[in-house]
């Protein structure tokens, strides 16, 4: 298994239009998206993006349509060329790579899963899964073995000989996932990978991805417009609006401390009990500790369920790093955290 590598995006700008290079300075000097569109008929796709994506974690980029999230992910494997800025993967700058180096980088360092699956209709599931390895020039026997392994892992054993058209959307995207995983690249780019699936299948696929990630430890960049999905999958979340990042942080940061009214309006619809962790809602321990203990990463919903089951109203919370009790969580604290509105934005 390839070692995970991080991705560093620095001062990335993308202007769409024929004179993008000349307009770069104006944008640097603070011209807004609206002005650029009005005066020069150019579209500001990305405006000074800076993200540091740690190796081996899931980085979610969330935004509504038109926010530039799909544009951003395409800069990581340079399906789109930036107007200015750097994309550093490991110790290589993707932006300055020669075409050959870029092809090599795409073959060995990244794999991508697409919203509309993008499977070849004239190839069987197995042949589709082999595609990345075939492009790399890996011998037939080896690539079939790898493809079969990953098809089995995503639950498609027995479907190798089918054509994509014969499968449901969820199954087609499993093929897309298996195709990307078979590449054994340290970076997995997922562009709205589950957005085209219906809600139950989507949750199913999220579970598959989280289970696989425990083992494969890839650097996953996951694009979504769905905050629930973002909160469930993301070790770290960046929220994009009109080509700008308006907040970066963990799911706790986003839900508990939304940066502005825009994010607040999303967060309002979230099931807080399933997102907020015990260690974010606990109070410092005072007096004797309760008998029942939960981990700090336990969600409030699970903590509440545990209270009901064990007939208590107070739990001890264990610090995930030291393993020692860090505080206590009462029923009131849970209710307060779930029903709370962030001050100032409501």
């Amino acid at each position: 298994m390839a070692d995970p590598i991080g991705i560093e995006i620095r001062n990335l700008y993308k202007i769409f239009g024929p004179q993008s290079a000349q307009l770069m300075q104006a944008v640097r000097n603070g011209m807004t998206k609206a002005e650029l569109n009005e005066r020069h008929h150019h579209v500001l796709g990305l405006n000074d993006i800076n993200i540091s994506m740690p190796a081996g974690r899931i980085q979610v980029i969330m935004g509504l349509s038109g926010s530039g999230k799909s544009t951003l992910i395409r800069h990581i494997n340079r399906l789109i060329d930036p107007t200015a800025g750097e994309v550093i993967v490991g110790n290589q700058n993707v932006v300055t790579m020669s075409p050959e180096a870029l092809r090599d980088f795409r073959r060995h360092k990244t794999a991508m899963v697409f919203q509309k699956f993008a499977l070849l209709p004239n190839r069987t599931v197995l042949e589709n899964t082999c595609y990345g390895l075939e492009v790399q020039g890996i011998p037939q026997g080896k690539r079939v073995a790898a493809a079969m392994h990953w098809l089995e892992r995503v639950g498609l054993k027995g479907f190798e000989k089918k054509y994509p058209n014969q499968l449901s959307g969820g199954m087609q995207q499993r093929v897309g996932l298996a195709r990307a995983l078979a590449n054994d690249a340290p970076i997995l780019l997922m562009d709205e990978a589950f957005s085209a699936l219906d809600p139950l299948i989507r949750v199913d696929m999220q579970t598959i991805l989280l289970d696989l990630q425990k083992e494969i430890r890839k650097t996953i960049v996951f694009i979504t417009h769905d905050l629930d999905e973002a909160l469930r999958l993301g070790d770290s979340i960046a929220i994009l609006r009109d080509g700008e990042i308006i907040q970066q942080g963990t799911s706790q940061d986003i839900v508990l401390r939304p940066a502005d009214a825009y994010i607040e309006s999303f967060v309002r619809e979230v099931n807080r009990g399933r997102v907020i962790r015990a260690d974010a809602a606990m109070e410092p321990a005072s007096g004797p500790l309760p008998d029942v203990t939960v981990g700090g990463d336990c969600t409030l919903e699970d903590a509440g369920r545990l209270m009901v089951q064990s007939g208590t109203t107070r739990l001890a919370v264990r610090d995930m790093q030291t393993g020692r009790p860090a505080g206590t969580l009462s029923m009131e604290r849970i209710l307060a955290a779930i029903t709370q509105r962030a001050p100032g934005h409501a």
Partner: protein, 295 residues
């Protein structure tokens, strides 16, 4: 006020001179290079002669079995095969076997050349917009220019015979395969190309694995059209010495032999329908994977 009632045209003498100069120049060109151009096309002539020799020299029963076999391999449809057999037997029974064989061999050679030249050209057009801008008007001319007009220089250069006839047929029949190859490749889903790029495909891998397979139904429609248009040229080609079903039709026209014309006309229609059905169901069979759609 002459110019109001009559179009102010070039002076008659000057016009005559211009025509004369161009004619002379072309005649000079023909005298100087005719032979070497003829040598250039020699491989084509040999190819045609060989194809024709095979179709007419082989015992009819073997050729018949071969045609039935190809119809079966192409269509896998008993109805199409039965219709092919009946058509071929009727053609033979009415005494047109030999001419039909000559026509089929000519269509075969023409189709092979059209595919060999047309598909790479179509690919190039899809790849470079400038190529498309140059080739498209040429194709327009090829399709709309009356065949007789380009027959004149071809005959002047190469004389009467198989090769000039073939060139005339190819000029007329090749545009569909070029146009539809170009169109088919341009219509390939952008997301498929993006996926191919994301996995690090080279241009050749992209062409071979994504663009050509996904454009295949359109390309097959182009090939089918090319075959049909080649058949439509059979009679005109016979005017410059291509043997086959066109010649009896030509004779029928000049001597008003109604029945002879009808028989040979229907023979052309017959093989056209066979070619069409077999090539279409072959194309459809290549796309079998797209039929079973998940409900």
């Amino acid at each position: 006020m002459d110019w109001l009632t009559q179009f102010p045209q070039m002076d008659d003498n000057r016009l005559r001179d211009i025509k004369k100069i161009i004619d002379e120049a072309f005649r000079g060109f023909t005298r100087a290079y005719g032979d070497s151009i003829e040598t250039l096309f020699e491989p084509l002539r040999i190819f045609m002669v060989q194809a024709e020799r095979f179709m007419t020299g082989t015992p009819w029963i073997i050729v018949f079995a071969l045609i039935i076999g190809v119809a079966w391999l192409g269509s896998r449809n008993p109805k199409v095969v039965a219709a092919t057999a009946v058509t071929m037997l009727l053609i033979g029974y009415f005494g047109m076997w030999e001419d039909t064989m000559k026509t089929i061999s000519m269509i075969f050679v023409c189709t092979v050349i059209s595919i060999a030249v047309g598909i790479p050209l179509g690919i190039a057009m899809a790849r470079w917009n400038r190529m498309q801008a140059i080739v498209n008007p040429v194709l327009d001319v090829m399709q709309t220019m009356p065949s007789f007009v380009y027959l004149i220089p071809v005959v002047m250069l190469l004389g009467i015979g198989k090769v000039p006839g073939l060139i005339a047929v190819v000029i007329y029949a090749m545009p569909p395969v070029i146009r539809l190859t170009n169109l088919g490749i341009r219509l390939v889903d952008k997301e498929m190309l993006e996926a191919a790029d994301a996995f690090g495909s080279s241009d050749w891998q992209k062409l071979k694995n994504v663009q050509l397979p996904l454009a295949l139904p359109t390309i097959m429609a182009g090939i089918n059209q090319t075959i049909m248009m080649a058949l439509a040229m059979v009679v005109i080609a016979s005017m410059i010495g291509v043997q086959g079903l066109g010649q009896p039709v030509l004779r029928a026209i000049s001597n008003q032999y109604f029945t002879l014309g009808v028989f040979n006309g229907f023979a052309i229609v017959g093989i056209a329908i066979i070619f069409d059905r077999v090539s279409q169901s072959f194309g459809k069979r290549l796309q079998k994977h797209s039929e079973v759609v998940h409900g």
